[in-house]
Structure formats: structure tokens, C-alpha cells
């Protein structure tokens, strides 16, 4: 996580990332949030594209997690009614979906206690075959685990960190299960989970946002 070297850009960014950030997210949705994380190269963004600028502060982190959980929740809801799965696999996917919904509720509450919760994004997920969807589910869960791990060192409140850790390991459980069900290793990164930055994660999820 590096800060913009250009002081003017940094000040512009920090102005966005301060108390106004929550309002910006709520008003204009995910677009503003993604722009702030420097993952877009649009000339209309105020951040430098050569430097990775991260929003700071627990509200931003919680809203980032909330955004991801909204997407997971929607994904599983669509998967459950897709007709692609049955039996034990369907049950597993439904259980995981219920847990993502619980994550949404918890993070929404936390965000609300800090400021303005992020707006719910609209997802778009290809649901072509059982194999492809199970594989996508595994990708999403592994990404979620990496996302939480990436933010762990930056969460300031011990209460929020405790909540994030309790969610992080559930995403890891989901990931390991889906990996195994799709004939992949439950520990694809070996002995240590790999963290991903906000920029990296949002770049991967961008195609799944309508």
C-alpha cells in the first residue's frame, strides 16, 4: 500500500477518502469507490494511475468488505435458483449463501455505526454450467479470503478487526470446500494465505459488476 507521491493528488484523494467518502459511495455507488482505489485509468479520476492510492479508515474498509459481501450474496442467490445444482452440493451452496447474507447484515450494521454504508451494487454473473459456476464460486471465495487478509493489518478498531477475522476464516472454509469440490487444492497458496490489496481485488471483481 503506497501513498501518492504527488502532494496535490494526495490532498485531493484524502479529501475524498475522509468523511465524504461514505456519502460519495452511497450517492454514486461502486464507481466512485473503485475510482478512489486507483484501479481505473479514466482521465476523469482525481487519483494518479501510476501510484496505488488506498482509502484509509475503518469505514472505508468495512464498506469495501460490505461491497464484496453484497456481490457474494447476490451470486449465491442466483446460483441457488439456477437449477444447475441438486442434492448435497446445492445444500452446501445454499448454506454458504446464507452465511454471506449474514456477513452483509453484520457489515451493514458496523458501517452504519461508523457513517454511511456503501450502496448495494448490482452484480452480473455468468451461470452457464455447473462446472463453470462451481469454479467461479471457488474463485470468488478465494478472492474474499485474500481481500479480508489484505485489510487485516489496516483495521484500527479491535472490535472491527475481531469481526473481520471471524468472517475471514469462514470465507477460507468456503474456499477450501469449493476448491476440493472442483478438484483443486484446499490450500492453493500453500502454507500461508496470500493477501490481496484493495486495488487488486476490485480489478478482479469489476467484470462482475453490472
Amino acid at each position: 500500500m503506497t501513498l501518492a507521491r504527488d502532494d496535490v493528488e494526495r490532498k485531493k484523494f484524502l479529501k475524498m477518502a475522509g468523511k465524504g467518502m461514505g456519502a460519495a459511495v452511497a450517492a454514486s455507488g461502486l464507481a466512485a469507490f473503485i475510482a478512489a482505489c486507483g484501479s481505473s485509468s479514466s482521465p476523469t479520476t482525481t487519483t494518479k494511475t501510476t501510484a496505488t492510492v488506498m482509502p484509509s479508515g475503518d469505514l472505508d474498509i468495512v464498506n469495501y468488505a460490505l461491497t464484496l459481501e453484497y456481490l457474494e450474496d447476490e451470486f449465491y442467490a442466483k446460483v441457488a435458483t439456477s437449477g444447475l445444482f441438486s442434492g448435497a452440493t446445492l445444500t452446501t451452496l445454499k448454506v454458504f449463501g446464507e452465511e454471506e447474507a449474514q456477513h452483509v447484515a453484520a457489515l451493514y450494521s458496523v458501517a452504519k455505526s461508523l457513517g454511511t454504508p456503501a450502496a448495494k451494487p448490482t452484480g452480473k454473473f455468468p451461470l452457464t454450467s455447473a462446472t463453470a459456476v462451481a469454479s467461479l464460486a471457488a474463485t470468488v471465495e478465494n478472492l474474499g479470503a485474500a481481500a479480508y487478509l489484505g485489510q487485516a493489518p489496516y483495521i484500527k478498531s479491535p472490535e472491527i478487526l475481531a469481526a473481520a477475522l471471524s468472517i475471514h476464516t469462514v470465507e477460507a472454509r468456503h474456499a477450501a470446500t469449493l476448491n476440493t469440490l472442483t478438484n483443486q487444492s484446499p490450500t492453493p497458496d500453500g502454507a500461508f494465505g496470500k493477501p490481496m490489496t484493495m486495488s487488486q481485488v476490485l480489478a478482479v471483481v469489476k467484470p462482475f459488476i453490472a
Binding site: 468523511k19 447484515a105 455505526s113 487478509l149 478487526l161 476464516t169 468456503h174 477450501a176 493477501p195
Partner: protein
Amino acid sequence: MTTTLDSQKGGGELAAVEVHGITRSSFILRGALTAGAALGAGAVAPFVSNALAADATGDLDILNFALTLEYLEANFYNVKAKSCNLSGNAKTLAASFGAEETAHVDALIAAIKGGGGKPVAMPTFDFPVTDEKTFLSLAYTLENVGVGAYNGAGPSLVSKALLAGSIVQVEARHAAAIGLLTGQTVVPNGGFDKPLTKTQVLAAAGPLIK
């Protein structure tokens, strides 16, 4: 300017006001988390309280406690497994997970030494298991206790959050993989993994340490 909790405006200044030893924002957050009004927040609440009750004894003490658990798991998978007549997936899993626990041991020793501390010596263990069934059953317990231990201690760590997080993610993956293999739930705590106190961890793991 009066600084009473009743004032809902001017959050910027009030947020930093200490109330009964905790900051105002922390006070509000605890209220939100323990209110139980929303399913999500209520679900997280007991777990957050549990984590906050954990002893904060400093990073090196916490890492040494983790090291003891990792010694235990490494020994279990690498040594004890040999006398349990494992085959197939169980055998593969024990070998793979054993290598990962060994890597955890090494990383924790390096982190403790790097922090100017002295790594604890490896204890001797006594695992009351004799065959594949009992081996996997204890493995399931140990991995889940490991997740709880790291999640419990996590918020107390000052500087090793990423290391601990990258390890606990893998413990959670292990727990899920073993659950899947043995027909036990991959999510024994549902949507939020439960942080354990040191006392609770020792209650589970203590009997195995000679």
C-alpha cells in the same frame, strides 16, 4: 463546547472523546455490535466480546503460544500419522498439511527471533488416537481450535496481524477440508468463526501436551 454523548452532531471532535476509558466511536460500535437488533450484528456480538476478553500479553507471548500449537499440529501430522495406518485421501492430506504446519513453525520461530524473543522449545505430545478414523476426528478438532486460537488472539497483536492472518486462513482451509472428508460440517460456527480465549484453547489442547 460541551462534550456530552447526547450531542449527535460534530462527530469529528466528539469521536475522539474518551468515555469510561474507551473512545466514543468504539463505544458506539460496541453498542451496535451487542444490540442484537439486526441478525448480523447480533450474530457477531458474542464472538466480539469473547475476543476482547482475551488476554493481551504482547506479540511475542502470543506468537509463542501459537508456536506451541503449531508444534503440536506438525507433530500430529508428521509423526503421529505414521502409526495410524492412513491411506488414500487421509494419507495425502496428512502429508500436505503436515508440511504446511512445519512451515508455520518455522515462520513463527523466525518472527519470534526477529522480534528479539526466545521461541519456546517443542514439547512432547500424547495423542490418544490409533487409526484413521480417530486420527481424522482429532485433526478436525485441532484445526478448528487453531482457528479459534488465532482469531481470539488476533486483535491483541500489535504488529504481526498479517503473519497470523495468513496462517489462520490456512488452518481454516485445513479444518474445512477435513470436515468435507469426514462428513462433518465445514462451518461448525456458521457465518462467524468463534474466537477462543487462551484458557479455552488450553482446555482443548492442554491434555495433549505432556
